[in-house]
Symmetry: C2
Subunit: 309 residues, 2 copies
DNA sequence: TTGCGACATGAATAAAATTCAAAACTTACT
DNA sequence: AGTAAGTTTTGAATTTTATTCATGTCGCAA
């Protein structure tokens, strides 16, 4: 089947450059005899001779020249591929396909990706929208490489890097009765309309970390896609919402809404980058997480450093 | 040293196309075990894994994808080269570097080359001007592939194909005394100025086939490069010359000169194409000789079919 | 659980590439 | 011509590598 091997191309190139089997053999770190056998066998398989040996330097036949042409096309590409692979092997390059559990995280993730791409231009980057339902199996089997999550489950083969912590705050209209309370208790929301992103409750701090533990169900849950839309509904008194403090910051500045902590201590989720163990030490991956942290701390108001929980 | 082999690229492509080691192994005519070993070893050498096996179809890592990219660049080129080499092996293609001993032969050789090139466009063709002195050693060692000669020496490893025979005729001015003789004898030229191409005497029919056997030396030998120039000198009575009848034809038509045979029978050299034995049966080579003959018989007046001498 | 399909593994085997040692050519020089 | 130096060829021995065979393991679905 496969007649020609890389080895043959290397031999022919060495032969072209040196002009004799003896010198070519030094070049490819083989004995001259090996080269003689090697080429003889190739010529046999190809059915034509590749060069004429009775001259110095050797003369290539048309067939030999055709193979040299092939070598000139192939060997540099091979070399480049090997260089790239060395970088993959050294963790200098790789692929990061991400998914986010935290809906508002797009706001800082996109700038983080942009910043990272400047330094690590040949790392393949993408955000996958396809694995919202079950990101962890996808991460484990390699469909994803990084998941932004607030719930570090203790899965084997997954490493979690903390990014930052924030307060999940309740936002209410300025004239809302809860404004008078220093903080919110779960039962305060029993009669409220709660406005959320259209995602599972487990992925919402308000439910998973506050209402469900207390067994409280709000009067109604209403969905909106965009953060501004949610805040607008809240500001006009159609309900309350729970958002990260850093996402609410600008609306607070503009005096649209009032925010209160959930419970006396407040709820302080931590965002983690979940990564497969085999990539956890790769420089390109660590660099991404570092860049993400830097971008967040530079741009988001109200977040704090997190320790590994 | 050489990490990646063609075989590896083929395996990866099969794997991409089938999605599993089992099917890929059928595709490359190996056992599943062989592929497992092969890839494991490559991964070890490269220092990174190439694909994730726990999924169907298998997922390639960035390194795996990089190798597939390489395969897509390399394998088609390899295939093309193999197709070309098949044609070399089958004698459907090759190289013809020619030299001519017969100085006037450019006149028919160039049109012959043009005609041949139409049909055999990827045969490498060239006329070498570098081996006028010793074309046969050059032919034997492969610097040349074809020599046009009138003297088929019995060299081993060389095959001669006759192209055509012609008469080597003496051209003289219309008022020259020799016009009165039906043919020329060697001694008739003892007092003449002979005009020739500036080449060795052995390559001139007049000397090698007529004067030297008779031990006659002309009064003077004068050289000119171009056939027209030679004929002009002859026409104006500055000397006589010997040229192939087909080269003289047009001047005869125009009544510039008169021609006479050398001896009663005339001298009838035959032009041969001398070819190395290993190329003597190659279709591309036979085709060239056939085309050359056709072109000659179509364009040259006065030539006759030759038999192998 | 069990069974099935797919991949991994280790030892055995087959195949190959390479080396060694010697011979056959080539070339240049005397 | 004869010889010496350098180069390629050759055949057999050897080493290395690729492949197979026979199991073993793992994940997944019934």
């Amino acid at each position: 089947m496969s007649q020609i091997e890389i080895r043959h191309l290397r031999t022919l190139v060495a032969l072209r450059e040196t002009g004799s089997l003896v010198e070519a053999s030094e070049r490819v770190f083989l004995t001259q005899s090996a080269l003689s056998h090697q080429i003889k066998e190739l010529e046999g398989r190809l059915g034509c001779s590749l060069f004429l040996r009775k001259t110095r330097p050797v003369r290539f036949t048309s067939a030999g020249n055709r193979l040299l042409e092939l070598a000139d096309e192939v060997l540099p590409r091979l070399h480049n591929a090997e260089l790239d692979l060395d970088r993959f092997a050294g963790g200098q390059s790789g692929r990061i396909i991400m998914a986010i559990e935290c809906h508002s995280c797009f706001e800082w993730l996109l700038p983080a990706i942009d910043a990272y791409r400047n330094e690590w231009s040949d790392v393949e980057l993408d955000i996958s929208s396809g694995f919202h339902f079950a990101p962890f199996p996808a991460l484990a089997r390699g469909d994803l490489d990084l998941v932004i999550t607030a719930d570090p489950l203790d899965e084997p083969g997954i490493t979690y890097f903390p990014i930052f912590s924030y307060e999940a705050q309740l936002a209410v209209a300025k004239k809302h009765p809860l404004v008078d309370k220093p903080w919110v208790e779960p039962k305060d929301l029993a009669d409220e309309v709660v406005i959320t992103y259209p995602v599972d409750r487990e992925r919402l701090d308000l439910f998973s970390g506050f209402l469900e533990p207390a067994g409280v169900e709000p009067a109604r849950v209403r969905h909106a896609e965009l953060t501004t839309m949610i805040v607008q509904l809240v500001a006009s008194g159609r309900g309350v919402t729970c958002l990260p403090n850093w996402a609410l910051h600008e609306y607070l500045q503009n005096d649209y809404v009032v925010v209160r902590s959930l419970g006396e201590e407040g709820i302080w989720p931590t965002l983690y980058a979940a990564v497969r163990k085999d990539q956890a030490d790769a420089p390109f991956m660590n660099a991404f997480i570092e860049v993400a942290k830097q971008v967040c701390f530079a741009n988001l108001r109200g977040i704090v450093t997190a320790e590994l929980g």
